[in-house]
Symmetry: C2
Subunit: 308 residues, 2 copies
Amino acid sequence: MNYRLGIDIGATSAKIALVSGVSRIVEEASVPTAGFPKPGELAAAMSDASRRIVRGRRVTKVGVGVAGDIDSARGIVRIGPNLGWKNVPLKKLLQARLRWPVVVDNDAKAAAWGLYNTQIPKRIRHLIVMTLGTGVGGGIILDGKLHRGATGSAGEVGHMNIAADGPPCNCGLRGCLETYVGGPHLVKRVRRDLERGQKSRLRRIFLEDQDAITPLEIAQAAKKGDAYALSVWRGVGEALGVAIGDLIYILNPQMICFTGGIAQARNLFLDPLRAKLRERTFRTPVGAVEFRIAEQAAHIGVVGASLL
Amino acid sequence: MNYRLGIDIGATSAKIALVSGVSRIVEEASVPTAGFPKPGELAAAMSDASRRIVRGRRVTKVGVGVAGDIDSARGIVRIGPNLGWKNVPLKKLLQARLRWPVVVDNDAKAAAWGLYNTQIPKRIRHLIVMTLGTGVGGGIILDGKLHRGATGSAGEVGHMNIAADGPPCNCGLRGCLETYVGGPHLVKRVRRDLERGQKSRLRRIFLEDQDAITPLEIAQAAKKGDAYALSVWRGVGEALGVAIGDLIYILNPQMICFTGGIAQARNLFLDPLRAKLRERTFRTPVGAVEFRIAEQAAHIGVVGASLL
């Protein structure tokens, strides 16, 4: 029996899983990552934990997903914002300790690849996965292969331009897709509007505790018919519609799959998204796209990494 | 010796060439296409002209480029705006007469494929070709292959969103890339500004003959230092910069190659384009892109078609 190791390095912990078949998780471990760990020390801790769950079984490869700008060809974390890393040769560090072949890639790409291999029908060869959460990330599968591009940076759909005069983005520009869809941006906008006296059933929550305003609360208010909350989700759908209209014209995918916390509000943003797409002239590529919401799968990060 | 036939169907004529090697044109012919020709009649005329230049030589395949929405897998012209065609089975019509294997694709894709095979260094595997002319078209080569997508519609970069409140586009939306870059749009804007009293050395030409305002005249005025004309080309570069910034984030190409009439004004739009890209945060993919202007090659359409 052959096994693969999947490692998903997040901002608070690195999840490690021993995987067999496509996605069967045999054993799991976890290593803390908070507080800008030193690369060598984290690599040692992950290697020790890996060996403990492997216990002498045959491992064919190790796949690692990390948030940031990754040089997948050389296994280097060029920029890992959560870890405070710059130009860390993670593949080399792990391979020296584990002696199995190691592949390192961006975590959104790993998750996209995991979804493609576990949840998406076989007939789909051109897929865009959009992760809608705190940020907006992406993974692009073309012709059945994960598209990495010249420097492994492809798929950064969260920073597509929606409006040059839009809200300021963490990236320094204005009006990126993420500023219309990312959770913290939604919360910030709603709080500001409520502060300015916006009428909404969110008002009571806000007056009790500002921090209680979350994407989930905004979604629940919308589901109860709150006009203001509905307009917030309409904004999400329309911004997605602009970006996805461009993506369809550029790439002509068969399917777009949403994952992440914000994606759970599908019933609130899919209709305005579709209305926005109906404005586009070229019917054939627009009509060819199916939308899907990924099943929530806590392990998609490690499974995807193990499949890299 | 083996030969290929390339056919480039334009709005006024279909150019036909017998090609050997990668791009050596052995013989040429041309057939008029103006005035919405009947599909059967045009197919017959193109087949007759093809047989005349082939004169019994061994042809391995026929490649055809047509403007419009093409179902390349089945060889159907779904929409051919220049020809007034809808759902024309061009592959079938030609194959019945010529008895050689026929491939039909969008003309911008054929030209992109031709450029990739004749002008682009072998190390380039991820390329975006942008045709800047009357319209703005595109061809995307990823991993050394022409990317067609689910319905053969990929590469429509001319209708990417630049600004929701931008100039009206032929496609029915506002603010598409084409409205900032396409020749007729530039001319229209300049005429309108001159009408409203805009100071510029283009003014004298305009007052003599409105129709003498062309992209070439606007470029020549800019080259002479005319501040207004320079601002027009800055607008071209900035709009290209927004769209190309998105394309780089999405696809992470190694090279972007411009072709078409407007591309000849490279010295006027490349600097503002690069300035716009420098605003983007992710340095690695932006720094990885080379820009190139295609050598003007009158035959790239037929050569590209023959290589499909």
